[in-house]
């Protein structure tokens, strides 16, 4: 065997045929080592779930005829965490902390979509400042998510400089988000009714600095990858999916737009004041991996435009609905031991107002009641339509939180994109789908 791993499993016989474990080495050597009389070029190859090029704990089962993929299936569920079920045992506010962990590259989109749904159920409207800050945060997050897509996609295709560059810029994004929200990922910053707290005082300088840095670095990607012959050869004409295929398989986001349909919910069903922003929806018509790559780079530029506009639009004001039966009762503040209830608030509820104490206790432990009914709210996440189906029976906890995660749906396109192609092109196709397994498996 061509494997160089001393701990790799030996070949073993099964009812389906001989099973080999391959961890590296040369394909021809492997084929030579397989005795020719019993094998007929038809191989079932199992990639993953732990494999550096499957984009997370995704398992791909490929049936090969030589090096051509005749059938491809993806097996998921390795990262199932039961977040949807967990949400049923938490208050509506606590739910934010859970859903932000699903699609971990787009936490703010999860929070925003969930909170938009809860607000629809409550029939409240968030203050203008909160809505605009949400837009700004989501667009910063979109840049970070697309950068990871380019970086990991580059790594999977062997363009390692793409990876180091992508993660370098993504670090800028995470630094900025940490400065703005307090956490690099899993922020739980967007809450039903608005935001958990206001931005730090010098947020605008920091954001504009970031925009400047990104404007100077984005051309690097064009220089490094866009015109590069190897990159183009690996991606052009690979992973093709036309519009009708996209719609049949439910694909949204960059996959759908790469096939020529300019469907972007920020434009067609604006939410959270997106209708006030000026930006373009980049589209391509090739429907292949290269088109998706170009789109993601173009979308980062548009996101920068939106961030700049948001910086100009955001004006001082409240970031939470005035309804004290929904808004978190304490004004969070920084103490010597980190963030917590403001001392002023604690002084008031402990010393002066029994009513306030009861109110605080009820709202924090029990949560707010959400009138019965169901809603579906969706946002345009970096990967497509991220939808939340929320059901309430009038209590303080959801009856059901279902997430229509774009990664989950888009991953269904993998066979359509890669069957009939080469094994190496499967990697390119999966990278261009950009599935985040935390979102796929939930």
């Amino acid at each position: 065997m061509s494997t160089t791993d001393p701990y790799a499993a030996e070949p073993r016989e099964t009812t389906e045929g001989t099973v080999y474990t391959v961890t590296g080495g040369d394909w021809d050597e492997l084929m030579d080592s397989v005795s020719t009389d019993e094998h007929d070029d038809r191989i079932v190859i199992n990639m993953g779930p732990q494999h550096p090029s499957t984009h997370g704990v995704l398992r791909l089962v490929l049936e090969l005829e030589g090096e051509t993929v005749t059938q491809a299936r993806s097996v998921i569920g390795y990262l199932h965490t039961g977040i949807e079920k967990n949400c049923e045992y938490r208050t509506w506010t606590q739910g934010v902390t859970f859903v932000t962990r699903m699609d971990y590259l787009a936490p703010l989109f999860n929070e925003a979509a969930y909170c938009l749904g809860v607000e629809k159920l409550l029939e409240v409207e968030v203050p203008r400042r909160a809505a605009l800050i949400r837009v700004m945060l989501m667009e910063i997050n979109r840049i970070g998510s697309h950068l990871v897509c380019l970086a990991t996609g580059g790594m999977e295709l062997g363009a390692l400089t793409g990876m180091t560059a992508g993660f370098r810029e993504r670090e800028e994004v995470l630094h900025l988000l940490e400065y703005l929200t307090g956490l690099r990922m899993n922020h739980a910053f967007i809450r039903p009714g608005g935001l958990s707290q206001d931005l730090p005082e010098d947020w605008k300088e920091k954001v504009l600095d970031f925009v400047k840095v990104m404007h100077s670095r984005l051309p690097d990607y064009d220089n490094l990858l866009t015109g590069q012959p190897i990159w183009k050869q690996r991606l052009e004409g690979v992973g093709y999916l036309p519009v009708d295929g996209c719609l049949a398989l439910g694909a949204t986001g960059p996959i759908l737009r790469s096939a020529g349909l300019p469907w972007d919910q920020r434009k067609v069903e604006p939410y959270s004041l997106y209708e006030e922003f000026e930006f373009d929806v980049p589209t391509e018509t090739a429907g292949d991996c290269y088109a998706r790559y170009l789109l993601r780079v173009a979308e980062m530029r548009e996101s920068l435009r939106i961030i700049e506009q948001a910086c100009a639009k955001i004006e001082p004001g409240p970031v939470m609905v005035p309804d004290r039966k929904i808004a978190w009762p304490a004004q969070l503040s920084i103490g010597s031991d980190g963030m917590g209830n403001s001392l002023e608030h604690v002084r008031k509820i402990m010393g002066q107002s029994m009513e306030s104490l009861i109110h605080h206790f009820k709202l924090v432990t029990e949560g707010f009641h959400v009138p019965p009914g169901q809603v579906y709210s969706s946002v345009e996440s970096p990967r497509g339509e991220l939808g939340y189906h929320l059901v309430s029976d009038g209590g303080t906890r959801p009856v059901r939180v279902h997430v229509r995660d774009p990664s989950f749906v888009n991953l269904q396109c993998m066979p359509a994109m890669s069957e009939g192609g080469m094994v190496a092109d499967v990697i390119a196709a999966v990278a261009s789908i950009d599935p985040v397994m935390g979102g796929v498996d939930r």
Partner: protein
Amino acid sequence: MTEPTGTSKDREEPTGGAQSSAEASGAATEKQRAAGGEAPESGEVEQATETAAAPEGGTRLAPTRERSGMFGVRGSGDTSGFGGLRLPGYAPAPAERPYGGWFDQLADDLAEALEGRGVARSAVRQITIDRGEITFYVERERIEEVCRTLRDSPELRFELLSGVSGVDYTAPDGAAVHQPLHVVYQLLSMTWRRRIRLEVALDPADARLPSVVGVYPTADWHERETWDMFGVVFEGHPALTRILMPDDWEGHPQRKDYPLGGIPVEYKGAEIPPPDERRAYS
């Protein structure tokens, strides 16, 4: 909406009611529950099962569980009186004409298109409009035809199935709810920029309905997930296997009656109780 806790007495059912003491009222509730579990609940259930020849919006769906008490206290001495508080279960109300906006046109177009395809009008049990969203409650036998009509009729054109999922309306305390298992379809028309929801109510004992994979191939994984999580059988699905849980898993985790596990703590044999047995304030 979110009522201040102190004013709960203003709600429809006064606390205590005919019962003399809070404890007695709690016991009465329990008894009522037990009775409800065996005999069919009078009015609503019959209405819900009676579906023949009903015009749109004709048959009411059974309400979900009735909520009672405050603070999540069960079976303990309740001295506040709030334990006797009973809130009626929620049933989505049928919408009344005019629906407003594009809803009227859509409902007419759908009724016409269904007729044109020879699908009985009773395929749509009820139409509900809530918070600007329209829901069609569909007979389970007709779901595939309704989906096909919605996709293919030029005046409807719902090209994209956003998702399929389930909702289990079973009461956590086992109180009877008629047809608690719902399968929900979110449809999107990109041509008209409209979103609608289809919903099918099922009996857990007979949780099966036709698959829509033939109409919307994207339903493949959604239906597998709904089977995996709720145990709903989609008849005609090409390969209805588990998708998120392991193949040999027993039970369907998103069902409300699915047993929850606690978390053992490696200290003096302690265990964190399952979420549904923890102290709750709601």
